[in-house]
Every structure is written in structure tokens, then in C-alpha cells.
């Protein structure tokens, strides 16, 4: 049973004032099972961000379907899309996307507030998450007072506090130093081990090596995929690096 199913997704950008059409996604199909940790890799311009935007219902595909838990995202009326996103998806962005006018605590609460949850429940949900992510001491602080790693952990807390079906992460380690990156990736793995489904877009080999499965996207198509299986992170790292080299040097496609 797939929690997320993507079928023949196609996206063509038509410039507003004529000009050449740009095909960002030509035909993308894949599925993510419940509890899976999937990374999507690809170079800049390969269509990663477009794919993520469509999965997040921030953009609509030209053709093809996205099914989340069997429900077609494209069929959700515009009015409910915000609520849908809030209830089913959690987001972690490269640049954190925290609001400077809210404290760390309030930033985490934001999606719950929008979902009109009572305050007691917000607190109840926050306590274990804050402990796990190690952000208890900074809850009263403001985003500009904490480090990049702490900001990203705040963003993760904000993403998981709604118990989403799926977490979408867009280059979550992109703005972090290597120590913070390690910490964050370990956190992702822990969360995943607790049953959370994660879909991460990245071009960091290291970040991808933590995932159970890596999809490679090139020129708007899924080009290749790798399963981690029982391999260690180091072995996975090596495999990913090999695949990337192959893609870059224009090797043959393999199953």
C-alpha cells in the first residue's frame, strides 16, 4: 500500500509572453510506502523543486496524478487545499522559513493554531517533540537568537507536530555546517524509525545516504533508483557517488 503515489506526472511551463515552452517534468512515476524514507537526487534544473512543489500542492501538474493515501491531490478544491496541506503534510525547507515575529514555541505552534487546536493540546504535543529534538531551552527565544541547526530543528518540530502523513524536506541540510548536518540527519532517521514517512529532495550525497531508497531524477524523469537495504551509510554513500558519476558522464540507464 503506497502512502504516496505519483503517476505519469508532467509539467510544462508556458511563458506568459510566448517564447519557448519548458518541460520541467516529462513523465515521473513512483510510489512511497508508509514508513519509508526516500531521497530524490538530481542536479539543479533536473525538476526536483517542481516535483516537490506539485507534491506539496503548491503547484499543479500539466498532466498526471498525485495520490496521497489514495486521494487525488488535484481533485481537492482550492478552498480546502490549505487545510489539506496543513493536516497531511509537514515541510522542512532549506532556509528554515521561520517567522521572526514569533518565538520558537509560537513558530512550532503555527500549524496547530491554524488548525484551531486548543492550547492545552498544543502544549501536550510539544513537550515530547521538544525533548526529542533538544530544543526545550530555546522555546522562548526568537529565531534570530538561535543557531542554524536549532532553527532547522525548530522547523522539523513544526513539521511533525501535526502528525502528518508525509514530511516533505527540501534541501534540509543546505544551509547547515557539517556538525549540524550530521545531527539533523540522525534526527531524520530517528523520526523515520518511529514510523514517519519522509520524502527528501537533496543534492547532498551525504544526506541521501541516510535514506532507505534514493531516486535519481534527470531531465524530468526518474533515471535510476537505489535501495539501501542492509548496507551501511558509508556503503550507500559510495553507491550514490558512483551513480552520480555515471549520470554525469552520461552512462547507460540501468533498471
Amino acid at each position: 500500500m503506497y502512502i504516496l503515489e505519483v503517476k505519469n506526472l508532467k509539467k510544462v511551463y508556458t511563458p506568459r509572453f510566448g517564447g519557448n515552452q519548458v518541460q520541467a517534468l516529462s513523465s515521473v512515476s513512483f510510489g512511497v510506502e508508509k514508513g519509508e524514507y526516500v531521497a530524490i537526487m538530481g542536479e539543479s534544473g533536473s525538476g526536483k523543486t517542481t516535483l516537490l512543489n506539485i507534491l506539496a500542492a503548491l503547484d499543479t501538474p500539466t498532466a498526471g496524478d498525485v495520490l496521497l493515501n489514495g486521494r487525488n491531490i488535484g481533485s481537492i478544491p482550492q478552498k480546502e487545499i490549505a487545510a489539506f496541506r496543513r493536516d497531511n503534510l509537514g515541510f522542512v525547507f532549506q532556509d528554515f522559513n521561520l517567522l521572526d515575529t514569533f518565538s520558537i514555541r509560537d513558530n512550532i505552534f503555527l500549524p496547530l493554531v491554524l488548525a484551531r487546536k486548543p492550547y492545552q493540546e498544543m502544549e501536550r504535543r510539544l513537550t515530547p517533540i521538544a525533548r526529542k529534538l533538544g530544543i526545550e531551552p530555546i522555546l522562548a527565544k526568537y529565531p534570530y537568537e538561535v543557531s542554524g541547526g536549532e532553527k532547522q530543528r525548530t522547523a522539523i518540530a513544526r513539521a511533525i507536530i501535526t502528525n502528518p502523513q508525509l514530511i516533505l524536506a527540501d534541501e534540509p541540510t543546505g544551509a547547515l555546517d557539517s556538525r549540524a548536518t550530521d545531527g539533523l540527519l540522525r534526527l531524520f532517521r530517528e523520526i523515520n524509525e518511529e514510523g514517519q514517512t519522509i520524502l527528501m529532495v537533496t543534492h547532498s550525497t551525504k544526506a541521501a545516504s541516510f535514506a532507505q531508497r534514493v531516486l535519481f531524477i534527470k531531465d524530468g524523469e526518474i533515471f535510476h533508483q537505489l535501495y539501501k537495504g542492509d548496507s551501511s551509510e558509508e556503503e550507500m554513500y559510495q553507491k550514490i557517488a558512483d551513480t552520480l558519476t555515471m549520470i554525469a558522464t552520461g552512462g547507460e540507464r540501468r533498471g
Partner: protein, 661 residues
């Protein structure tokens, strides 16, 4: 590279940033126009000739100095917002290989464009506007406008110099910013974290205290003249209170709201409260300024409108009869003589006296102390509210006025109090004690109102009046009062204005004198004067009011737009996290609404509190029609609010467009 490359680039830059530059240019234009109008008005030769015009001109010349300073501060301030937004662009030029001197050149050309456009548009606008205002005035108002239309050369020169300097200063500050910064800093210029505002409880409390005291003073003020100084203290206190509460109070209140978890953690309030906190931090002083200025404008407008609309009322109150002749230091012979002369002149003009009334009176001032009126206390250090005028009228004259026969004993009086209640059974003055037989509810012929309050005493006969006359003459000496005689009458309704004025002039030259000072008041004769005085005030009120509304609204519009750009990112994030477009719209609406209408609401509260006092003050100007004044105040506030609402609507739309781009 062509010679005009930089000129073209500068023009392109402005065109590309038109959404921020248009309000800026409009603001500059409006400021220049406002300055020109004020300055030229202060030099208008017609205004100087108008009664009270020189005072108004003095105020205006003070006004244009204030506008000048205000413009400088305001334009520099808005400019700093503008340049902050454009730093990224300059950073890019810098990275692309332009040297700082090239950037400086582009900035200089941009400033020149903007300066030329806004100064010339402002001056033309100012000239056209002043011409239009004069034309409108001539059409609308019935009084002769003595103020002509003039183009003031010196105002133009001053405006050029002032605004030239201001634009030069903005250029310097921009150059400094760009010169000091590194390209990377320029590229990031737009985003600098802002600290969370702190709640200043002490300031909030002192604001509350001074506002409360001010309100209390204004509400409890009694007679306007006595309390005028106190009222000014109240005004100052309220101003201080307004500043404190806008800056500290608003943030303290928002913090309190935030502390209330079940209130705060609701979708709309969550974003609104936290957004407002930052918005207030940045805008509080400006909003407080706007609030205070709005209050002033609304007060000025509503009073001048009320005075102008109520000018007939004022005339009727101040001059209850068509003709009133008052004589001081009378003799019986003089009275007979006067009667005959008046009758003769009336006949000569083929007129008829309607409802003539005459009475003799003695009035002097005493200091009230219970039911005693002192005449020997040194008048220094005496609260003006204790000063009362006592007016003695013989009962025979009272009978003549009312047609009512009264029999009074030697020490009995009928008492009519004006402006204050008299609560005692008797009244003592100059060694005599009168017992009050009856309090009267009205007294014909004496409608003119004295602000300090008067007691009219109807006494047995002229002998009592004369006895009092001598007694007070002994005490007051050369400052003593004289016996007076008042004759008043109306003309039938069909007598023309010119006829009345002709009669008035004729009467003035034919009255007997015989050592008696006498005054003739004709309502028709003063009518024009009233219209031109009150009309002039009305015009000025309207003029300054419109100017100010323009300025205020542009300022708020501009600030909101600038903030829209800053908020764009925040709303984008909230949408990603799951805020719907509807919720974004609602949040924007309530924030912009608050920033817009808070000053107006507070100004309205200020006005309502000041209302009773201003009503009393207007009574000094003989306008006693409270309903009329209330209508004018309400109407002014309503029109102001309407105009405000229109601009709000437009601002919210533009703001939403920017945020959702």
C-alpha cells in the same frame, strides 16, 4: 557608452520601481504643494485685511515653518525606507562591475528626476489648488471674499530652496549608505532581523494617568474663560498620554493579549497580534502624530463649520433685536429726549417700531461668597468663577417688559440668574440684604449672555436702584458703574436690509449726546462683518483640513505599502505552512484596519471628551446651538472617516496584491 546612458538608466530604475516611487513622488508633491499653500496664504494681502486676518497669518507663518521641518524629517524618513528596498539592486549593479562613483551618478540623476518632477508638480498643484479654492469659495459662500488669488513669488523661491535642500540631503544620506556598504551587504540589505518590542509598563501607566487626568480636567471644566488655562493643561496632558499609550500602551496591551493563551492561539489573532506588535513598534510615533493632528483638524473644522453654518443663530443670540440702543450715565431728560429722537427718525424712514422694549438698569460686579456679594476685597487672586455681575432693574420697568404687575416690599426682589443657579433665599450686597421672593425662569429683553454669570434683581422702584448706585459709586470710585438705559425694537419682516442700514446710519448721527455715552447695535449692519469673519475662518479651516487629510492619508498609504514588501515573505511562509488565502486576507485586513483607524478612533474619543468644553467656548462666540455643533462635529468626523475608508480600501487592496505576488 552614450552620454545619456546614466540618465536613461536612472529613468528606467524609477519606472521599474514605480510601485514604490509613485507614492513617494506623490507624497513629495503633496508636501511641496502644502508648503506652498501655507506660505503663500501667510503672505496673501487680502487675508491681512480680513478681521482677525493678521492673527491667522501669524499662525500660518508659524505653520509653514512647521510644515517645512516636518517635510524635511518626513521625506528623509520615507527615503530611507526606499533606499533600503533598493539596496539589493545597487548591490547587483556593483557586483556586475559598476563602480561606486557610477552608482552615485545614477542615484544623483534619479534624485534630480524626482526632485524636478515633484517640486514642479507640487508648485503647479499648489497654485492651481489655491486658485480652485478661491473660485470654489466665491461660488459657495455668500460673503465677500476679500482674499484675492495671488501667486506668491517668495513662496515659490522658498519652496525651491527648501525642497532642493531636502532632496540634496536625501541624496547625501543615500550615497553614504551605499558608499559604506560592501556589495554583499548591499545584496542582503533588505533583510535585517528586528528585535521583539519590549513592553514598557511605566510609560504605559504614566500615559494612562496623564490621559485620565487630562480627560478629567476637560470634562469637569466649568466656565470656559476661567478654565481656559486648565484646558490647555488638559490638552497637553492628553497629548502626552496619546504618545505614551500609542508607543508603550499598544505594545503592553498586545503583550497582555498574547499572555492570554486561549485568546492568542486562534488563527486570526495569532498572526494579527504578533504582526501588530512589530507594526506598532515601527509606526507608533507616526500614528500618535496623526492622531493628534487629526484631532486638531477635526476640532478646527467642526468649530469653523458650526460657526459658519450657525452664523444666523449667532447673530440672533448676540443681537436678539433689530436695533438695540444702550446708553450709559442717563438722566430722565435724556431718556425723554432719546425717545423723541428715535420716534422722529423712525417716522422719517417710514418705518414702524415693533415690540419696543425699554428698561433702566444698574449693573456692577461683586465677588460671590455664599449669599453675600463682596465689593471691598482686592480683586487679585480671585477665581474668575466667583465674579458675578449684579443687575438691578426697577419693578416698574419689569412690568413694562412683561406686562405683569408686581408689588414688592422695600427689601424684596425677584431674581433671575443667568449662567449659574442661585440657591439662597436672600442676597446681601453693600450693606443691604434682599430677600428673594421668587426666582424667575426668564427675563425678556436680556438675552445676551455673560460668560461669568449674572444675577438680575427686580427691586421695588427706581429709588432702590439709585440707592445701590450711590453705594457702589462710593466703594468703586471712578471704576463705579453708571445707570444705564436700554431701548430695543424690531422692524416688520418686509423691511429691506438696505433700509435698516440706512436707518441705523441716520439714527447714529441724530442721537442726542449730552454727556451720555451710547451705543447702537443693528443686526443688519454687523451681518456682513460676521459673515466675512466666520466665513474666513470657515475657509481656513476647510483649507487646512483638506490639506492635512491629504497629507495624513498619503503618509499612511505609503507606509503600509512599504511594509507590504517587508511582510511579503512572512505571508509566503505562512501559506506554505498551511494558511489559506482567505486567512491571509483576513489577517491583512485586521492589521491594516487597526493601523489605519486607531488614530481616527482615538481622535474621535478625544473630540467627544472635548465636546462639552468646546460647546461652552463656542457660547462665548454666541453660538449656543449645541445640536448644530454636535451635527457639525459628527458630520466632519463622518466625512473624514469616509475619506479615510476609501483610502483604506485602496491600500488594503494594493497591500494584498504585493503580499500575494
Amino acid at each position: 557608452m552614450g552620454r545619456f546612458f546614466y540618465w536613461k538608466l536612472a529613468a528606467d530604475n524609477i519606472r521599474k520601481n514605480i510601485q514604490v516611487y509613485l507614492p513617494y513622488i506623490l507624497t513629495c508633491t503633496a508636501t511641496v504643494a502644502m508648503y506652498y499653500l501655507m506660505h503663500s496664504l501667510s503672505q496673501n494681502s487680502g487675508l491681512g485685511k480680513m478681521s482677525g486676518g493678521d492673527t491667522v497669518q501669524m499662525m500660518l507663518s508659524f505653520g509653514f515653518v512647521v510644515v517645512g521641518i516636518f517635510s524635511a524629517v518626513f521625506l528623509l524618513y520615507t527615503n530611507s525606507f526606499l533606499i533600503k528596498r533598493r539596496k539589493k539592486e545597487f548591490g547587483l549593479f556593483n557586483v556586475l562591475g559598476m563602480e561606486k562613483k557610477h552608482l552615485a551618478r545614477i542615484m544623483m540623476y534619479e534624485t534630480i528626476y524626482i526632485a524636478v518632477i515633484s517640486i514642479s508638480a507640487g508648485l503647479i498643484g499648489g497654485i492651481v489648488l489655491s486658485k480652485a479654492m478661491f473660485l470654489l469659495l466665491l461660488k459657495l459662500l455668500r460673503f465677500e471674499v476679500q482674499m484675492g488669488f495671488e501667486i506668491s513669488g517668495s513662496a515659490i523661491v522658498f519652496a525651491l530652496l527648501l525642497f532642493g535642500t531636502i532632496f540634496f540631503l536625501t541624496l547625501l544620506s543615500n550615497l553614504r549608505q551605499v558608499h559604506l556598504a560592501k556589495p554583499i551587504e548591499l545584496l542582503k540589505g533588505g533583510q535585517v532581523g528586528e528585535r521583539e518590542p519590549k513592553a514598557k509598563w511605566l510609560l504605559t501607566l504614566s500615559g494612562l494617568a496623564s490621559m485620565g487626568t487630562g480627560y478629567y480636567l476637560a470634562l469637569t471644566a466649568e466656565s470656559p474663560i476661567a478654565a481656559l488655562t486648565l484646558f490647555f493643561v488638559a490638552v497637553i496632558l492628553v497629548m502626552i498620554g496619546t504618545y505614551c499609550l500609542f508607543t508603550a500602551g499598544s505594545i503592553a496591551l498586545l503583550k497582555l493579549l498574547r499572555k492570554n493563551k486561549s485568546y492568542y492561539y486562534r488563527p486570526n489573532r495569532f498572526t494579527t497580534v504578533s504582526g501588530l506588535m512589530y507594526r506598532m513598534q515601527r509606526n507608533a510615533v507616526g500614528l500618535a502624530n496623526i492622531c493628534i493632528l487629526s484631532t486638531m483638524v477635526l476640532v478646527t473644522l467642526s468649530t469653523t463649520v458650526a460657526l459658519f453654518v450657525g452664523v444666523e443663530d449667532v447673530l440672533k443670540t448676540r443681537y436678539p433685536r433689530d436695533i438695540v440702543i444702550s446708553s450709559y450715565g442717563i438722566t430722565d431728560e435724556y431718556i425723554d429726549n432719546l425717545g423723541a429722537t428715535v420716534a422722529q427718525v423712525v417716522e422719517n424712514h417710514n418705518l414702524v417700531m415693533q415690540d419696543p422694549m425699554e428698561y433702566r438698569m444698574l449693573s456692577f460686579v461683586g465677588i460671590a461668597q455664599g449669599n453675600e456679594f463682596l465689593t471691598d476685597e482686592p480683586s487679585l487672586n480671585i477665581s474668575p468663577s466667583r465674579l458675578k455681575t449684579l443687575c438691578f432693574i426697577p419693578s416698574e420697568d419689569y412690568s413694562g417688559l412683561t406686562g405683569e404687575e408686581v408689588q414688592l416690599a422695600q427689601d424684596e426682589v425677584l431674581l433671575y440668574s443667568q449662567g449659574a443657579d442661585y440657591e439662597y433665599e436672600s442676597l446681601s450686597v453693600l450693606g443691604r440684604t434682599f430677600s428673594v421672593r421668587k426666582q424667575l425662569n426668564e427675563l425678556p429683553a436680556v438675552t445676551e449672555w455673560d460668560i461669568s454669570g449674572r444675577h438680575f434683581l427686580i427691586v421695588k422702584d427706581m429709588d432702590v436702584v439709585e440707592e445701590m448706585y450711590h453705594a457702589q459709586a462710593d466703594v468703586y470710585g471712578e471704576h463705579g458703574s453708571k445707570l444705564t438705559y436700554h431701548l430695543q425694537f424690531d422692524f416688520p419682516g418686509d423691511v429691506s436690509e438696505e433700509g435698516e442700514i440706512a436707518f441705523y446710519k441716520d439714527l447714529r448721527s441724530s442721537l442726542p449726546s449730552g454727556g451720555v455715552s451710547r451705543y447702537i447695535e443693528s443686526r443688519e449692519a454687523v451681518k456682513d462683518e460676521f459673515y466675512s469673519l466666520y466665513g474666513g475662518l470657515f475657509f481656513l479651516g476647510l483649507f487646512l483640513g483638506i490639506l492635512f487629510i491629504m497629507g495624513t492619508v498619503l503618509i499612511i498609504y505609503y507606509k503600509q505599502i512599504t511594509e507590504g514588501y517587508e511582510d511579503k515573505e512572512r505571508f509566503a511562509i505562512m501559506q506554505k505552512v498551511g494558511m489559506s488565502r482567505e486567512e491571509v486576507k483576513r489577517s491583512i485586513r485586521s492589521q491594516v484596519l487597526t493601523v489605519f483607524f486607531l488614530p481616527l478612533i482615538v481622535a474621535t474619543v478625544h473630540i467627544s471628551v472635548a465636546f462639552p468644553f468646546i460647546t461652552k467656548l463656542l457660547a462665548v462666540f454666541s453660538l449656543r446651538n449645541t445640536l448644530l455643533f454636535a451635527t457639525c462635529t459628527g458630520g466632519t468626523v463622518l466625512i473624514f472617516a469616509l475619506f479615510y475608508g476609501l483610502v483604506y480600501h485602496r491600500t488594503a487592496r494594493v497591500y494584498y496584491r504585493i503580499v500575494s505576488m
